[in-house]
């Protein structure tokens, strides 16, 4: 029972660590566009429709493939068709900001909400937003000294995690007999060897934004 619980928590830790390392690589290396369409007086400003359009246009101009297909319109109240889309990977702190952007479609307004991913928040134009509590944030990085949020807008195969040394991750358990002469303690843990890597720098843009 204890081992099962430890394995579950370690599994979450492994994948979250992997995500955080990938996040930090993207923040360090991807080119950025500051949101400039907002009115909060900062640089970057809060996110607006014009900023999303700028990013989408830039990705389109670079021939980046969209990741998700269209969701065809349906005869249901309060729904709207969703365009084929790139992903915008961002912090859960931005959910309120996204709600306020012109043209935002909540995922429950998709014609078939079952097509939405669990972490998805909604879509604006050709960008569908996936949110995470550990989304990228640069502390005190704006003109006025507030936190800047990094929204990684990515096309298909813009980046990848490359396995090293013939394995990606290993879950390790050593029973007590292997852990000490008195067999008092067991060891359980994980290790992984993989490298996050931008595959095409023109297919990823860091859209930097502040809160309104």
């Amino acid at each position: 029972m204890v081992l099962n619980e430890a394995a579950k928590r370690l599994g979450v830790s492994l994948r979250q660590t992997e995500d955080q390392l990938t996040r930090d690589m993207l923040a360090a290396t991807a080119s950025f566009i500051n949101c400039t369409g907002g009115v909060n007086g900062d640089n970057p400003t809060e996110i607006t429709r014009s900023d999303v359009d700028t990013v989408v246009r830039t990705l389109l101009s670079a021939d980046a493939y969209t990741i998700m297909d269209n969701i065809e319109g349906d005869d249901k109240f309060g729904t709207a068709p969703v365009r084929d889309a790139y992903f915008g990977l961002c912090s859960t702190d931005l959910t309120g900001e996204l709600d306020a952007v012109a043209g935002f479609i909540q995922k429950n307004q998709y014609p078939s909400p079952m097509n939405a991913l669990r972490s998805e928040w909604g879509a604006i134009g050709n960008l569908r937003f996936l949110v995470s509590s550990v989304g990228s944030k640069s502390a005190n990085a704006s003109n006025l000294g507030v936190d800047v949020y990094n929204v990684f807008c990515v096309g298909m195969e813009a980046y990848a995690c490359i396995e090293q040394d013939q394995y990606s991750a290993k879950f390790i358990y050593r029973p007590p007999i292997y852990d000490g002469p008195l067999a008092l303690n067991a060891s359980v843990g994980y290790k992984f060897a993989e490298v996050p890597r931008i595959l095409n720098d023109e297919w990823i843009i860091n859209l930097r934004t502040t809160l309104s």
Binding site: M25, S31, L144, G145, R197
Partner: protein
């Protein structure tokens, strides 16, 4: 103070600035010896320093020459001696990107290398990375830049010249934050993108970056030059770097016929600055070991100061001091 496992030891010759030492694992205690001071027997010279868990950052127990002899006395760096508070030993985790606290700047000059006045330069040294904010220099606010001239508790200067002065003649009171003590700590991933401060019009255009770039000759980078920065002919071009200095490199593009590069003025805020983004393999590394190379480390900082009396009593020492250090782990720590 228990000695148990020594994890690492070494020596260095002080250059008069904070010494940053990367360690192979976490550390519970550090001891430092200044061999030059031990031999000299000058009054008020520190000779050994001890730091262990639960002591404050930038502190240590210090043993020093209380007179011009081998007679020693003890104090802590925080208390100091001879009326001076000393620098001590700190832990560092370069993956922690939390900026330093906001510190007031009282003015900034309108020059391509602006000088910012402050009564508190803190632990800033030449080569540090700082970020100014809330000043009238809106176009520089929020951007990180290297500093090259630090006058202790008086001023610091932006190291890498802008194409155009910030454009505000009146004072630029606001704040600054220390982002990293040097570019090694600043770069968690190597190489990183950089904001461009200038590009010359030349047969091989010369690019200057706000923060020292750490690129090497042969590296491939992509230029991002938005409309507000002039020289849009370079936008999107994939170019090859020839390293010139820590902050400049030339590119294999003749920029003589291009629109002049301009660093946006405050009126242009909000804007996206010009950037250079590493995209290819860095010849100094192997295949698939470039832009994603995680260079973060944990270690210690042996502090020193530009003030001679403080430096002589601090573990980072004064220029040319020969210093030895040893760092270790304790089997167990019983901390109240």
């Amino acid at each position: 103070m228990a000695y148990n496992t020594i994890i690492q030891q070494g020596d260095f010759v002080s250059t008069g600035v904070d010494k940053i030492i990367a360690l192979r694992s976490d550390v519970d205690w550090v001891k430092v010896y200044n061999l030059t001071n031990i031999a000299a027997s000058d009054q008020w010279d520190g000779v050994t320093w001890w730091w262990q868990r639960e002591m404050a950052q930038d502190d240590a127990v210090v043993e020093f020459h209380a007179a011009a002899s081998q007679v020693t006395s003890m104090s802590t760096c925080a208390v100091g001696f001879n009326g001076l508070v000393l620098r001590g030993i700190s832990l560092i985790d370069s993956s922690d990107k939390t900026p330093g606290a906001a510190v007031a700047v009282t003015a900034g000059t309108n020059a391509v290398m602006p000088i910012y006045s402050t009564a508190n330069t803190g632990r800033m040294i030449a080569g540090s990375i700082v970020r100014i904010q809330n000043t009238a220099h809106d176009n520089i606010d929020g951007l990180d830049f290297s500093v090259d001239t630090v006058t202790v508790n008086t001023s610091f200067r932006l190291a890498n010249a802008l194409a155009t002065a910030p454009g505000v003649v009146a004072g630029a009171a606001g704040t600054y934050r220390l982002i990293a003590p040097n570019v090694t700590v600043y770069n968690m991933m190597h190489p990183k993108k950089r904001v461009i401060s200038n590009i010359t019009a030349a047969a091989a255009g010369v690019v200057t970056t706000l923060v020292d770039h750490a690129y090497v000759t042969g590296q491939k980078v992509r230029m991002h030059v938005p409309a507000g920065c002039g020289m849009t002919e370079l936008d999107g071009q994939l170019v090859t770097v020839t390293r010139l200095t820590a902050s400049t490199f030339s590119i294999n593009v003749d920029t003589t016929g291009y629109t002049a590069f301009a660093f946006p003025l405050p009126a242009a805020v909000p804007f996206t600055p010009a950037q250079v983004v590493p995209v290819g393999e860095d010849p100094s590394y192997g295949l698939l070991d470039d832009a994603q190379k995680n260079t973060a480390f944990i270690g210690i900082i042996l502090g020193t100061s530009g003030t001679a009396g403080i430096a002589a009593g601090s573990p980072g020492g004064t220029t040319s001091d020969v210093i030895k250090w040893v760092a270790g782990k304790s089997f167990a720590t019983d901390i109240a």
